[in-house]
């Protein structure tokens, strides 16, 4: 039988004091990027939240998203959140395999019909169902079957959210995102390659706490974590404004920690929480480590004109095309001049 304890009851049973619970709620508020003033509300909501069943489907993915998530080791806030969900199906983390695993998935779907969460990582190939199958079932079929009774779907990682690297040019498998296929259920995108682990658990925590989906932006990403660009939150922003840029890797500017705009940083057009939440428990993030942002939480970032071409470099076409335009121009000019000269000759003759 599934647990019907609330999160509050679970924590109490573990001997967690009310102070500890409040500390947990503050950390959750911080995680959700919510103002500290909301902590009492969060405490109330969490006390009464029940453990949802979660089914995790892995499709065309590199397992980086699962790796990212499991870097948050228990028992941390993230761990506690995960303790409070019932992860009923996950290829990499589950003990069961084969028929038993599929049976577990179906059982979870039945018992929690209408209430379970489906988490998806990896893109879904449409080119040929045989490109990616699990237990003989194509990704497409498994996705559509599993989401039927789901309360909501969370597409974790850029592959599930936007197609990711399988979907990059030339997209040989016909990879598509979850949103391309699931139209009748709410789908939250948590992109990133991989997403920040705290963001993944934060989205789950938000669902747990408020029982509803967070506010989403135009790409279906939670505004709490994807509402600001890296550029707007980057600690190197003062250098951008002062015109201090690193020109090459490891030059003087790079060593001084100057802005990486000229090295291709996609910070200005990338929405994610890397600049504030950072990675590895707040240790650092790519720009701080000296590498320009790749823009990995944006759709089609693999094909956005090269990681080391600055944002303001346009995709202006080939030299050949320009040469062609030049030739055309000269030709037209010559033609116009010829006509004008003919006219001139005529008038001069008449003069």
């Amino acid at each position: 039988m599934k647990d019907i304890l609330t999160l509050g009851e679970i924590l109490q049973a573990r001997g967690v004091s009310r102070r500890g619970f409040l500390k947990y709620c503050s950390a959750t508020a911080s995680l959700l990027a919510l103002p500290p003033a909301l902590v009492p509300q969060i405490a109330n909501a969490l006390e009464q939240a029940r453990r949802p069943s979660v089914i995790w489907l892995s499709f065309q993915e590199c397992t980086g998203c699962t790796e990212s998530l499991t870097r948050s080791s228990s028992p941390t806030v993230e761990g506690l959140i995960f303790d409070s969900i019932s992860l009923d199906y996950h290829h990499t983390l589950q003990a069961a395999a084969g028929e038993a695993a599929e049976a577990a998935r179906h059982a979870a779907m039945e018992e929690n019909k209408g209430n379970y969460l489906v988490l998806v990582d990896g893109s879904i190939p449409l080119g040929n169902p045989g490109y990616s199958t699990i237990a003989g079932m194509s990704n497409l079929d498994m996705l559509m079957e599993t989401v039927e009774g789901a309360a909501a779907v969370v597409a974790i990682g850029s592959c599930a959210a936007f197609g990711g690297i399988p979907g990059a040019n030339p997209n040989p498998t016909g990879a598509v995102s979850v949103r391309d296929l699931v139209k009748d259920k709410p789908v939250i995108n948590v992109p990133g390659c991989p997403p920040i682990p705290m963001v993944i658990t934060g989205v789950l925590a938000q669902f747990l706490t408020f029982g509803q989906l967070p506010e989403l932006d135009r790409h279906g990403r939670p505004m709490a974590f994807f509402g600001q660009t890296i550029h707007d939150r980057c600690y190197r922003r003062p250098f951008y404004e002062q015109g201090k840029f690193a020109e090459t890797f490891d030059d003087e500017g790079a060593r001084k920690g100057w802005c990486l705009f000229k090295l291709g940083c996609k910070g200005p057009i990338t929405y994610n929480a890397c600049a504030t939440m950072k990675w590895n428990d707040g240790t650092s993030f790519p720009i701080e480590a000296g590498h320009p942002c790749l823009g990995c939480s944006e759709p089609g970032f693999w094909d956005k004109g090269g990681f080391y071409n600055a944002v303001s470099t346009g995709d202006v076409g080939s030299g050949k095309a320009f040469a062609g335009a030049a030739v055309a121009g000269v030709a037209m000019g010559a033609a116009a001049a010829a006509m004008a000269r003919a006219r001139q000759k005529k008038t001069m003759k008449e003069a």
Binding site: E241, Q242, G243, G314, A325, A328, G333, A336, R341
Partner: protein
């Protein structure tokens, strides 16, 4: 493809092709016109020397007219300086040109550029007001004059809005900015903005011709 990808990609590409083709068309169209043969004997060999001299000296008003024209003169020069500074010394622009031409040069801090930009917009409005209020100018101004003013100011204004934001998404503002530049590039060779090329051609021709006749230039 979203608006920004369209602006940075196809829109800018087509605009650049039209800009190049159009500019060469107009310049060659003029350069290859037949000139009336001058049968008089040359007093001085009129050539590049005379051309260059007049290109330079025409930048300065003849003393008789100085007082009357000082205001539009200063306004015009300041506008040009402002535009050049903003276009060529703003570092994201420098990077753009590097992508296009392979060469780069140092720039100015962003805040300095924003300051210059705002002043230039003010100057642009001042010059429009002059065109509208001066009776002679008002009489002779046509669509070309006003439209050229518009397509030149528009990128400056849309560019300045980007750091201010007004709550609009950065990508949208950037796309609008790039589209306004595409518009400028397309109009450039065909309207008054083509003075960029012709000012040198006409002054140079005048200089060469006058020098050949021995006139003081």
């Amino acid at each position: 493809m979203d608006l920004l990808e369209f602006a940075r990609g196809p829109a800018l590409q087509v605009a650049l092709y039209i800009f190049i083709a159009g500019s060469l068309w107009r310049v060659f169209g003029v350069l290859m016109l037949q000139r009336k043969p001058d049968h008089s004997e040359a007093r001085k060999s009129g050539g590049m020397g005379g051309a260059l001299k007049v290109i330079y000296t025409r930048a300065f008003t003849a003393p008789a007219f100085k007082k009357a024209t000082i205001y539009p003169k200063v306004l015009g020069y300041a506008l040009h300086v402002g535009f050049f500074a903003v276009v060529f010394l703003f570092i994201p622009h420098v990077v753009f040109f590097k992508g296009l031409f392979g060469v780069s040069w140092p720039g100015l801090p962003n805040n300095v550029i924003y300051f210059i930009g705002v002043i230039t917009v003010g100057l642009g409005i001042a010059i429009l007001i002059r065109r509208l209020t001066n009776p002679v100018l008002k009489l002779i101004s046509n669509f070309d004059d006003y439209f050229s003013w518009f397509v030149t100011l528009l990128p400056l204004v849309t560019g300045l809005i980007i750091p201010i934001r007004f709550g609009i998404r950065y990508e949208t503002l950037l796309a609008i900015h790039i589209l306004s530049i595409a518009l400028l590039l397309i109009w450039f060779p065909f309207g008054k903005l083509a003075h960029t090329y012709f000012v040198f051609i006409s002054r140079g021709t005048t200089g060469a011709t006058l020098e050949r006749r021995g006139a003081k230039t």
